[in-house]
Structures are given as C-alpha cells and as structure tokens.
Symmetry: C2
C-alpha cells in the first residue's frame, strides 16, 4: 500500500477543480508535488481575473517556483485534471518539469495534438488518471451553461 | 507620411527589450496597441521574478486585459521584438489577438515551427519588422555571457 500514489494527488487537484466549478470557472485544478509533499495548488481563474493566462497550471508554476526559489521544476510532479493546453505545456517546457500527470484528455485544445514537442524532452508524462471524474466535471459545467 | 506605423511601435517594443538587457534579462520587449495608442508595455522578467511565465508577451496580455476590462484583445495589436514561443503564442490564441507583429524570427523556440496553429485563426501576423536590430540585441546579450 502506497498512500501517496497518483490517485491520491489527483484527488487533491480534483478538489481544486471543484473550487473553480463553484466559482463559475471552467473546472480545472492542479497541484505541484515535490518529495510527496504538495508545494503549490491552484485552479483556473480566467473569469475572476479577466486574464486568459490564469490557467491552473500557470499559477501553479509561478507558486511552485516561488517556493522552490528557482525557475526549474525538474524535481517536481504537476498533477492537473485536464490535459494542458499549448500555453501551459509551453510553460511546463520552460520550467523543465520532472513529471506531468493529467486526468482527462483534451481533444480540442490539448498540447499533444497541437504542440507535441512543447514539453522538455526529459519530462515523464502519464495521462488518464481519474479521467472519468475529471471529464464528467467538465461536461457538467458546460451542460449547465447551455 | 503615417507617424504611427509598425516601425514606430516596434521601436517602443525595442526600448522595452533594452530595459530587459540592462537588467541582465534575455532582451525581449513588447507593447500592446489599440487605436494607435500604447495600452501596455512589458519586458522579459524571468530572472528577476524567478518565473518562466514572466515573458514580455504574457505580462503585456495581463496588463492589456486589465486596461481593456475584458479577456479578449481582438481590437489590439501586439508588437514584440522576438517571435513568440509556444507558451506565448498559446496565450495570444486564447486572447484572440487581432494582430501580431514581431521582429526577429526564433528558429529554436518560435511558435511557427512548434505550434503553427496556436494563434487564433483570425489573428493577422507580420514578422520581420526591425528584425536586424532585434536579432543583434539578442546576439550581443548571449555573446556577453559566453
């Protein structure tokens, strides 16, 4: 039994996504983990801040770099409920992220389709963790707004 | 004679790049223009802020959205001394930027090679304005550091 596995941390990212949902934001959440400790957490705030750059991942990178005291996050894992977009993957590439774990795939905006080389070549990638939960939350959000 | 042409505004972006240079930052500068008025200006601050997301364009988007009071910059032109990277192009895509004008091309990190569809399909793009000046400033910066 490993208490700190990918599902454990994705649940924390999912909690962040729920906070976004409750604020009327597209429900995406993220946490950054180093040595089995969460060092940053964030959720999408693009509407609240009127700023397209306020994706969960971008805020998480800024917060984690602050805490680490350096630009590079090569010792960190970022958990995010949705596959990062081109912008966020580009940022994670500059940060030389150690490992990326995402929940639901994003066919329309995901980096793997539109910028497959955006991440650092050494970044390990795992997709599909709690994919159904993450995807269901997105679907519920957009159905409410139709 | 048109006083407010692309060279006029690129010179303002270049002034921002010089500020970055003087601070020991990779010298990239940007201004956002709406109705022939500069509504935001910024230069790269990644070292100063210890934050890979602090590219000139990202800060310019955030500042311009603040001033416009909306997320979308479809009435705006962004002038930047270097071709945007994948991250910045992704952000400009979300912002639905009206027009992008850049100076020097970036063979190694530019979006046109690594994420050619990152911008909004309606964004007009002009490259190569004051390309030699912009490129020379970059070269001088990296030569000093060798």
């Amino acid at each position: 039994m490993e208490p700190f596995d990918d599902v454990y941390f994705m649940k924390r990212a999912f909690q962040e996504a729920r906070l976004a949902y409750d604020q009327g934001e597209v429900p995406v959440g993220a946490v950054v983990v180093a040595n089995n400790r969460i060092i940053a957490r964030a959720h999408n705030l693009t509407e609240t801040l009127t700023d397209v750059t306020a994706h969960a991942e971008m805020q998480a990178i800024t917060a984690a770099s602050n805490l680490v005291g350096g630009k590079y996050l090569n010792e960190c894992t970022l958990y995010v409920t949705l596959e990062p977009c081109v912008m966020c993957a580009g940022a994670l590439g500059w940060a030389q992220l150690g490992r990326l774990v995402y929940g639901a795939a994003d066919e329309k905006r995901g980096f793997s389709k539109f910028a497959p080389k955006a991440l650092h070549p050494k970044t390990e990638v795992t997709g599909g963790v709690m994919a159904d939960d993450c995807s269901d939350l997105m679907t519920a959000f957009f159905q409410e707004r139709r």
